[in-house]
């Protein structure tokens, strides 16, 4: 990544001053122009070309931003159906990277990037990190998983582009993380919030006081839903400001939205995306302030722009101006999901994945219940499942079964849930429909 930081005025609050401070009218004019370009570009995508032809849509139909509603929604299912490259708007030889979803249900989703896409993505992340006061004099430790998970390379490229010294520590190994923080003078960390809580526990065990023994001052937290209380706890624990980050691989990865120093909603970068909030049932727009499903259109991507992508995340518009001087829309933290997807420790999990595994065990009945809880800021999953037949009256064998189920689930969802066998007929059923997920986490409050 080209290091732009050194050319910059460190006193300037903005990484891209011109775009970040555009007025609403200017933002919307830019969006209309880029929407038209994107719709024209999508004619190169076999998927969108067919879809446009079916409804007779051409770029001439896009005359105002409201005309975006003439474009059909794109869903995750569309990505699966066209797996792996069916939505691409450029030939594969122009692409330089792909990222794939963590889910293992059916086809995964694949997102392609050109060189320019990667660079624009890094620019968004750099803009975010600059916005919360980081400068090239800072040392940035990325304690996020690398590989297919976009939180690794996404923050890496962005932090490099901004000009910070980056420490690609990756996830886990807390003792090593703490050594890096102390030895390299780390001032900023990106991690999932539950990991920071874990890190603090290890610091306590090791007698490390973050206020006294480290230079930490900024956290970027995301990829896992968390509540305002959880953020405050993390800030108090470390004496470090924690900023909420929103990203999704379908749009690029982290960088799509980020809190400014006001910590009052995430600025979604409207020079890159058109943001809509719709009623998940009627798919009609909801007024600002009302909760609905977040729908995003990427208007700056080459390899694989997505039009009106249904994120399934529920949130609301908080405002379109901010004391920080940015008029890019402020979006509330995610309030929930309009489908049954669960997000735990940065991993996306659908109940069907768990069901598929449980059904492989003849000892088990069809009814199961997934309970999500927060225990000292850590998300935990308990899977209760009914026993079909008592095949033994030996506790050892029952416990072996529990362990085998647990291992099989871990292979599928990448996390180890607590597995509990329960007698047949004891799990809740409401209105004749089985209740599958109970989310008792404090995050969505």
């Amino acid at each position: 990544m080209e290091n732009q930081g050194i050319k910059k005025d460190y006193n300037c609050e903005y990484f891209n001053p011109e775009v970040e401070t555009l007025s609403r009218e200017e933002i919307e004019a830019l969006q209309l122009e880029r929407l038209k370009e994107t719709v024209a570009h999508c004619m190169n995508s076999p998927f969108y070309k067919k879809r446009f032809e079916e409804i007779g849509l051409t770029v001439d139909d896009i005359k105002s931003l409201d005309d975006i509603r003439k474009i059909p929604f794109t869903t995750k299912q569309d990505l699966r159906d066209t797996y792996p490259f069916g939505i691409a708007s450029v030939p594969l030889e122009k692409c330089t990277r792909l990222h794939s979803s963590s889910g293992t249900t059916g086809n995964p989703t694949v997102i392609l990037h050109t060189d320019k896409d990667i660079d624009e993505w890094a620019n968004q992340v750099a803009r975010n990190l600059w916005m919360v006061g980081l400068r090239p004099t800072d040392v940035f430790q990325n304690s996020s998983g690398y590989g297919m998970f976009t939180g690794g390379l996404g923050f890496q490229n962005g932090a490099e582009k901004m000009g910070m010294l980056t420490v690609p520590a990756a996830a886990g190994n807390s003792l090593r993380q703490i050594k890096f923080i102390k030895d390299f003078g780390t001032t900023a960390i990106h991690a999932v919030p539950s990991y920071l809580t874990r890190l603090k526990e290890v610091m306590d065990q090791e007698g490390v006081d973050p206020r006294r023994d480290t230079k930490l001052r900024v956290f970027a937290i995301g990829a896992e839903p968390h509540s305002e209380e959880q953020r405050k706890r993390i800030e108090d624990m470390f004496g470090v400001k924690a900023y909420n980050s929103f990203g999704m691989s379908e749009m690029c990865g982290p960088g799509v939205g980020f809190e400014c120093k006001e910590q009052n909603g995430l600025h979604f970068w409207e020079d890159y995306y058109i943001v809509e909030i719709v009623d998940p049932e009627t798919l009609e727009p909801v007024p600002d302030g009302e909760i609905g499903e977040l729908v995003l259109t990427s208007i700056r991507r080459e390899a694989m722009p997505l039009l009106r992508y249904r994120t399934r995340d529920l949130t609301r518009v908080l405002g379109r101006s901010c004391p920080c001087g940015r008029n890019h829309v402020r979006i509330d933290r995610m309030k929930g999901r309009s489908d049954d997807m669960m997000v735990l420790k940065g991993v996306n999990i659908f109940p069907i994945q768990i069901e598929k595994i449980l059904m492989q065990f003849p000892e088990l009945a069809n009814n199961y219940l997934i309970t999500l809880t927060t225990d000292s800021d850590n998300d935990n999953m308990t899977v209760e499942v009914e026993l079909e037949e008592l095949f033994t009256d030996d506790y050892t064998r029952l416990q072996q079964l529990t362990k085998t189920i647990q291992r099989a689930l871990k292979d599928e969802i990448l996390l180890t849930p607590y597995v509990k066998l329960v007698p047949k007929g004891t799990l809740p059923v409401s209105d004749g429909k089985a209740v599958r997920v109970v989310d008792k986490r404090t995050v969505y409050k």
């Binding site: 026993l387 009256d393 030996d394 029952l398």
Partner: protein
């Protein structure tokens, strides 16, 4: 040489035992001895009764997780040291006992347990001429 015992899978929470006991009581089943062992999450309620086959069908019908387990019930003198003698005989022959409980029946001690391997346990009973109970004894 073995008798049938009901092994019932129950949740480790209030009210679950009552349901089982209610069903058995309504069917006129007489419980001779019973024991509950529990883990953090669940328990197995083990019951000796006068009509195990009938009780099994009734519980099964109600959708309860129940198994008919084969257990050995030794009849021993109600005196100090008898249980130790019996257990030692099995232990010496390499028979392991996964669970055991005892009760008094008509003035004699009864030692109920599940042995592994069970064939070996039966051999020990024969060779050592140990007294054992049959289902007929409990009717």
């Amino acid at each position: 040489m073995t008798i049938k015992q009901l092994s019932i899978f129950i949740e480790n929470k209030g009210g679950t035992l009552i349901r089982v006991l209610d069903l058995l009581s309504k069917a006129g089943i007489q419980i001779i001895a019973s024991t509950v062992a529990d883990t953090q999450d669940y328990g197995i309620y083990r019951v000796l009764c006068n009509e195990p086959a009938k009780a099994y069908l009734i519980l099964k019908e109600e959708g309860i997780n129940v198994q008919l387990a084969d257990v050995i019930a030794l009849s021993i003198d109600d005196e100090p040291g008898r249980a130790a003698q019996a257990v030692q005989a099995f232990s010496e022959s390499g028979v392991s006992i996964s669970y055991m409980y005892s009760f008094l029946w008509k003035g004699r001690g009864v030692l109920v347990f599940r042995a592994n391997p069970s064939e070996k346990a039966k051999e020990v009973i024969m060779l050592k001429k140990l007294g054992f109970m049959t289902e007929e004894n409990f009717k």
